[in-house]
């Protein structure tokens, strides 16, 4: 009814665009009818719904994130309507904000990304990058609400005071609101009720009619298959087989090839299809029942009639598929053992003692030459200890740039020296920041290199007196080790929310304004995620009985060996040389 009036402002924006992902090499299996010469690119046409199916861990989410430009493309080339998503920057690839506007993305549990305090504010945030006059924006807001079955009274509602299902609807409304030609949806139905499933299916079909393309990841295969124009079956390892639902009905062994079981319902659907019913009819259980029950038009072939659409020879493919993709290996691929971390050979106590010695030596640095020597020692330690510093890149760069600005500030405003530039003050500031930075480098890397539970064991051993450890010490040690345990995960979460903020805000500029906006959209969901994680961690700890028993048993004791003495001596010597050498002017 309102369709016609609403179409006017928004329809024109869906300039139909092809989504093309190239560079798969032989990981992309050719479609039956594709010309042999064509390079291995996945071409998704507008006005189609593509469903990405695969076992967990196959990389479905990863592929969707690559399509959205949220992670390194790993050699894949993504383009929307012929426009590449990435362009070559001076040093690395850069996202093109205008191409970011070609898609709208809802991640798994998309409600976690909400940050505004009303539905309207959230919708307007998503619409902001697309411009348009007030009337146009208002029309889009209203239409987005309608897409999830809501009326405008919901605009003022606060997402934080909603149930989980309502929050998900808010997030999906945001995905539908943006006038982008592509919808990328990751598990939009998980945890939703039957009505929401139906509503979403109807909406996706309507969006297709309006010219959008949809790329959808879903575990609800019996919900998603009837919607699909095209399927992408993704096997562990990332191999993709594109096919239509009809082709999959003809070749059910492709489920296994992709590392999945053939669902029981699919077998029934397939039986109907072999009787000559169309794919559309058999994938919808209501239509299949009607056809088998004699309703609807046309004759049903008798069950014993010769089967028409069955390809004559399927078996060789089936055997082949089974030979090169054994079904049971998917999640449990053989792991070749990692090289043990070099620091694991030592007692954590000796490693931490070395760290303290080195830090003290670095803090005592007073001259530029000893700072240089300290830098050499630090980088050697990072190298030899294989500290995973990449995780801390942001912090380290941030601190470095802060140090530079503090130095400049000190130079302009400091005392001593002559004229406008206070060289001494600037030098002193830079030196002190420099040595702190080196200590930071070591300190941040070490917790990532030493397993927290090993550290806990060693700390408890240190604090054990006559076979008992005080309860307070136990608690402190456990808390510290748990914080260390979850630091890498918190960093990952932060990274994830930053990426999604770019996908929703359509902006990856490095200007202070843009960074501040992204910070807001990242920090609110991050803090909420932090609370959720805290809840889960405490539930898990409680259910394990942690903290309940005063004295857990210890299954092994760490031993201080000769190697630990050697390490301590070597590092102690270096630290002493750094500290004393600088003073005595050795170098």
């Amino acid at each position: 009814m309102g369709e016609e009036t609403l179409r006017k402002p928004t329809d024109a924006v869906f300039a139909e665009a092809e989504l093309r992902i190239g560079g798969f090499g032989d990981r992309l299996l050719r479609q039956a009818d594709a010309p042999a010469e064509k390079d291995r690119a996945l071409v998704l046409r507008p006005r189609t719904i593509t469903v990405l199916l695969g076992p967990n861990g196959a990389g479905k989410t990863r592929l969707l994130e690559i399509a959205a430009g949220l992670r390194d493309p790993e050699g894949l080339a993504v383009s929307y309507g012929g426009e590449a998503l990435w362009r070559k920057g001076r040093r690395r690839l850069k996202l093109r904000p205008d191409v970011l506007k070609r898609y709208s993305y809802a991640c798994q549990s998309a409600e976690e990304q909400l940050f505004a305090r009303s539905v309207e504010a959230e919708l307007r945030y998503v619409l902001a990058p697309f411009g348009g006059g007030e009337a146009e924006v208002a029309a889009r807001v209203e239409e987005a609400l309608r897409a999830v079955g809501w009326d405008p009274t919901w605009l003022a509602r606060d997402p934080y005071a909603m149930s989980g299902g309502e929050r998900r609807r808010t997030a999906l409304a945001c995905a539908f609101a943006a006038p982008a030609p592509w919808l990328l949806l990751d598990e939009p139905t998980s945890g939703l009720d039957a009505r929401a499933h139906e509503m979403l299916a109807a909406r996706l079909l309507a969006e297709r009619e309006r010219g959008r393309g949809v790329l959808l990841v879903s575990h609800d295969a019996d919900w998603a298959l009837p919607l699909a124009d095209m399927l992408l079956l993704m096997a562990p390892g990332g191999r993709i087989r594109p096919c239509t639902p009809e082709e999959l009905l003809a070749r059910p062994e492709w489920w296994r090839e992709a590392g999945m079981d053939i669902p029981a319902w699919f077998e029934i659907a397939r039986a109907g299809w072999r009787m000559g019913l169309s794919a559309d009819e058999v994938l919808d259980p209501r239509r299949l029942a009607a056809r088998l029950g004699g309703e609807g038009s046309g004759e049903i072939p008798s069950p014993l009639a010769p089967v028409s659409p069955e390809p004559a020879v399927v078996s060789p493919t089936a055997r082949h598929a089974r030979a090169d993709a054994p079904p049971d290996r998917s999640a449990l691929q053989a792991v070749s053992p990692a090289k043990p971390h070099p620091l694991l050979r030592f007692d954590p106590r000796s490693v931490w003692l070395c760290y303290i010695l080195l830090s003290l030596a670095l803090f005592s640095i007073q001259t530029w030459i000893s700072l240089a020597a300290g830098a050499v020692v630090t980088f050697a330690a990072v190298r030899l200890g294989r500290f995973p510093l990449r995780r801390w890149r942001g912090v380290l760069l941030g601190f470095a740039s802060f140090a530079v600005s503090a130095t400049l500030l000190a130079g302009w405003t400091g005392s001593g020296g002559d004229g406008l530039w206070h060289a001494d003050a600037a030098r002193a500031t830079l030196l002190s920041f420099g040595r702190t930075w080196l200590v930071l480098l070591l300190g941040l890397g070490l917790p990532l290199a030493i397993p927290p539970l090993r550290l806990r064991r060693s700390l408890l051993q240190l604090s054990t007196f006559r076979g008992r450890t005080s309860r307070r010490v136990q608690q402190v040690v456990l808390t510290v080790t748990l914080i260390l345990r979850f630091v890498p995960q918190l960093l990952d979460e932060w990274g994830r929310f930053t990426r999604i903020a770019i996908a929703r805000g359509k902006e990856n500029a490095k200007t202070p304004g843009a960074i501040a906006r992204r910070l807001k959209e990242t920090s609110v969901p991050f803090l909420l995620a932090l609370f959720r994680m805290g809840d889960q961690v405490s539930l898990a700890l409680e259910s394990r009985g942690v903290g309940r028993v005063p004295q857990p048993t210890m299954s092994e004791r760490l031993r201080w060996r000769g190697g630990d003495w050697l390490l301590l001596l070597a590092v102690g010597g270096i630290a002493a040389a750094l500290a004393i050498g600088g003073r005595l002017g050795w170098y």
Binding site: R286, V313, G545
Partner: protein
């Protein structure tokens, strides 16, 4: 509270849990739940997001719930909380390798020190993590990490194990392994609470608890859940699946459609095996064995 009786059921009597939304408004997370779980029983708990199934699962596991009021007796489950496995492995892993994780779990369950290494190794082998036992998490898949969580929960040999959507992020093979661990514990007499959103995981003859809007709306068999209280008179609107707002699976939807048209007699089939035995399966030549290659060879030779 009775914590030591090994034969008494775990009982909730008119138990409610009140909470607050992040915005500050009061909510009811569970309303007057009454439920008895017998020693060694296996129950499924289903419902949509926000229906209260996690709250119920945590209560059954014996985890502290703020704002709870009502009757509660731990019975056979004892005073210690039961191992509780959630969906995401990463918040539940405290060690840095599977072996370290199991050792940590056993130490806090006060297992005798000399038994710990052997028990951990045995469980790791049972879940198929023997080769990966000393690999850091970053080298393991999400499925393997979740298997480590389940192994750490199962290794304690507690009388009750609660799995809260523990398999929803897993692929088929990892899911089968988790299920295998739960079945192993169940065979040794442990009670299992299996919370799930996947209705195809339900066993038609096992007990299913369904929740909606913080209330227990249904407590019966899986078959009744899909087809209504009386198996001989299937009723879609009378079935709990419809009532708690869950999407009817494809096969149940088909069964209803065929039944309505008089093509399928009650009791309606609820498993692949029952489908095969029903008239429909054999009538249209369905080979439900899953071995499709043989099936198609037969078809091909039949054509020739």
């Amino acid at each position: 509270m009775n914590g030591s009786n090994r034969t008494e059921p775990l009982r909730l009597t008119k138990l409610s849990v009140y909470g607050r939304m992040p915005g500050g408004e009061r909510t009811t997370r569970l309303e007057e739940a009454t439920l008895a779980l017998a020693p060694g029983e296996w129950i499924y708990v289903v419902g949509t997001n926000g229906s209260g199934k996690s709250t119920l699962a945590q209560l059954l596991a014996g985890l502290v719930q703020e704002g709870a009021a009502g009757g509660y007796s731990r019975g056979f489950a004892g005073l210690q909380p039961a191992p509780y496995v959630m969906q995401q492995p990463d918040a539940q892993l405290f060690g840095s390798t599977p072996r370290e994780e199991l050792v940590f779990a056993l130490e806090w369950r006060a297992a005798p020190p000399e038994r710990i290494a052997a028990a951990a190794a045995e469980m790791l082998a049972a879940v198929g993590l023997r080769e990966a036992a000393d690999e850091p998490w970053s080298r393991l898949s999400g499925g393997q990490r979740q298997l480590a969580v389940v192994a750490a929960a199962a290794v304690c040999e507690a009388p009750l194990l609660v799995l809260d959507e523990a398999t929803s992020m897993l692929d088929e093979s990892a899911r089968r392994r988790v299920r295998g661990i739960a079945e192993r514990l169940h065979a040794r007499g442990a009670a299992i609470v299996w919370v799930t959103q996947r209705l195809d995981e339900l066993d038609p003859d096992a007990r299913v608890i369904a929740l909606r809007d913080a209330q227990i709306r249904f407590d019966g068999t899986g078959r009744q859940f899909l087809y209504g209280p009386d198996p001989l008179r299937p009723s879609r609107s009378g079935a709990a699946c419809e009532q708690v707002g869950l999407r009817l699976p494809y096969l149940a939807e088909l069964a209803y459609g065929l039944h309505r048209l008089g093509k399928l007699a009650a009791p309606l089939p609820a498993t692949a095996e029952e489908w095969r035995r029903s008239g429909i399966g054999s009538g249209i030549g369905i080979g439900m064995t899953g071995d499709t290659s043989r099936d198609s060879e037969r078809m091909a030779s039949g054509n020739g």
